[in-house]
């Protein structure tokens, strides 16, 4: 018998980092299913191929940095990056696009800064933005949704990924694109003219967003993250959209509901904004962080040059997170309020 010397506490709570990451992966599934239903197997292929590349890159980086891959791969953070980027990329993206995105995310955005926990920017979003800036054509080619065009099958999706030259898929502007390009039509007319629009937002998009919302709510219920940042983001986005809606005229920025259910709003709110590593930490900090992202998303969507804005908004606020943290330090027990801030 040997007595062990271990520092207190000896008990441990239910949360474990690998478990948290696994839950996040699980929570993306409803959204993936909906995306697949409306846009075909492109997203699934993205995710699978991306996961392979991500695991390879992670192993390589860990080996180069002299860490044990067997131990660190277990935290599943590379898979989370692959899932999120795979979802964000247009379906039927060529294999190299996915590979470049994942490699930039894992190697540049994560391991170059010291690995999980040290990265200032959300790896998936950093990878996405690198791709968006480098390959704007491929990155803005979104597939038509079910009902507005043909849906390729699994084989075609694989073909699109690995022999992109032989694949001839059609593409179509997303509802957010249409809204941005619109400068003469009332929203009602725009709705009637374009087949991409559904009941509240784009066909497919609205359901995908609701599915991500469901996954996010489950994570919330599992206490994987707190409600502050997502709610603040959605609230500020809705608020701005509401203020500038102007009843659906030709200069309208779109209704709050349209914004909530378009593009990557829910994915961003529950899977990107809640990334603990790159967000603010304190409760007040998270409220500010989320609200600022919501505002930036609206501004970039309506006034910016790119189709969606979550990635840029998140990266910009990643910069600001340490600053927010510095100014939202809680008051320590037994201290006066003024002492805590300097």
């Amino acid at each position: 018998m040997g007595l062990l010397r271990i520092t207190s506490p000896h008990a441990h709570g239910p949360q474990h980092t690998p478990r948290v990451m696994q839950k996040v992966l699980l929570a993306t599934l409803p959204g993936i299913v909906v995306l697949t239903h409306f846009f075909g197997f492109g997203t699934v292929v993205n995710i699978l191929w991306g996961s392979v590349v991500a695991l390879l890159c992670e192993t390589l980086a860990l080996r180069l940095r002299g860490r044990s891959p067997g131990f660190y791969l277990r935290d599943c953070s590379a898979l989370v990056t692959a899932f999120l980027l795979g979802i964000a990329l247009p379906p039927y993206a060529p294999w190299w696009l996915v590979a470049v995105g994942i490699a930039s995310a894992i190697l540049l955005a994560k391991h170059l800064y010291g690995g999980l926990g040290y990265n200032p920017f959300n790896p998936a979003m950093a990878g996405y933005v690198i791709l968006l800036i480098s390959f704007p054509v491929q990155m803005t080619a979104w597939a038509p949704p079910r009902g507005a065009g043909d849906i390729p099958g699994l084989l075609q999706a694989l073909q699109a990924c690995f022999t992109p030259d032989a694949f001839d898929g059609s593409t179509m502007a997303t509802p957010l694109d249409l809204l941005k390009q619109n400068d003469s039509l009332l929203l009602q007319e725009l709705w009637a003219q374009s087949p991409q629009f559904g009941r509240w937002a784009g066909i497919g998009w609205e359901w995908a967003n609701l599915a991500f919302l469901a996954g996010g709510l489950w994570l919330l219920q599992q206490r994987v993250f707190s409600w502050h940042a997502p709610l603040a983001m959605l609230a500020s986005l809705s608020l701005l959209a509401g203020i500038f809606y102007d009843g659906g005229g030709s200069a309208s920025g779109g209704s709050p509901l349209f914004h909530l259910l378009s593009g990557a709003t829910m994915l961003g709110a529950f899977f990107i904004v809640t990334d603990p590593v790159t967000s603010a930490v304190s409760v007040r900090g998270r409220l500010i962080y989320g609200a600022m992202i919501g505002a930036l998303v609206y501004i970039i969507r309506v006034r910016g040059n790119y189709p969606d804005a979550v990635a840029f908004a998140v990266l910009i606020m990643n910069f600001a997170a340490p600053f927010i943290d510095h100014y939202t330090q809680p008051r320590t027990y037994g201290h006066q309020r003024s002492e805590g801030r300097e």
Binding site: T7, G66, R67, S68, G70, F71
Partner: protein
């Protein structure tokens, strides 16, 4: 004037830059005078970092002389009692590279206190004269003793003692100076494999 400038854009650019330079220079100069901060002179700051053992291992007769020497460009790695931490602090203060401790001047050792075996002391006062901080009490032909709380552990008194009755007592591990060590940061690296193996072996044991 304006026409001249309009015709010679290069001249205009140079003039603008000069003007800007003059304005900002003036602002900076004003700020430097107006908001001047008075800091400790550098020697005092260096001296505050040195451990004040006054042991002379650096080759200077005391810490302050060494501090003055450092301020004049002497190497910062000649103080064994200050150790690596002291060198790091000096490097940070002076914004120079931290060098490894110069072995020529001795090695970093545990803290020590001089102890006089009092029944052997012959009362020669040589150690009293050698002690840089007056930590030895006694008079001629009287037994001497070290005031332990004042002793810096410099060991300068050991050499002059004609009867060799001074010992340096090194600090021992005890209940009073024990504290939890920082968790080993390298255990993020290699040791993990070892612990992994252990825990794997353990879990397979439990399974069996």
């Amino acid at each position: 004037m304006f026409e001249l400038l309009a015709q010679h854009p290069l001249l205009a650019a140079v003039l603008t830059l000069l003007l800007l330079g003059a304005v900002f220079g003036a602002i900076l100069g004003f700020a430097a005078v107006r908001f001047e901060t008075e800091g400790d002179p550098i020697v005092e700051q260096i001296n505050a970092i040195l451990p004040q053992t006054q042991c002379g291992q650096c080759g200077y007769p005391g810490c302050r002389p060494y501090a003055e020497a450092i301020a004049n460009g002497e190497a910062i790695n000649k103080c064994p009692p200050g150790g690596e931490a002291g060198i790091q602090a000096l490097a940070d203060l002076l914004d120079v590279e931290a060098l490894p401790l110069d072995a020529e001047h001795g090695e970093e050792q545990r803290k020590a206190v001089a102890f006089i075996r009092e029944d052997e002391c012959i009362g020669c006062t040589k150690c009293i004269q050698a002690c840089p901080v007056d930590a030895i009490l006694g008079a001629a032909k009287q037994m001497h003793t070290v005031i332990a709380s004042e002793c810096t552990g410099c060991d300068l008194c050991v050499e002059p003692c004609p009867v060799d009755c001074i010992d340096m007592l090194y600090e021992q591990d005890s209940l009073h100076n024990w504290h939890w060590p920082l968790p080993d940061p390298t255990s993020h690296r290699v040791e993990i494999i070892a612990t992994d193996r252990q825990s794997a072996a353990r879990s397979s044991d439990e399974a069996a």
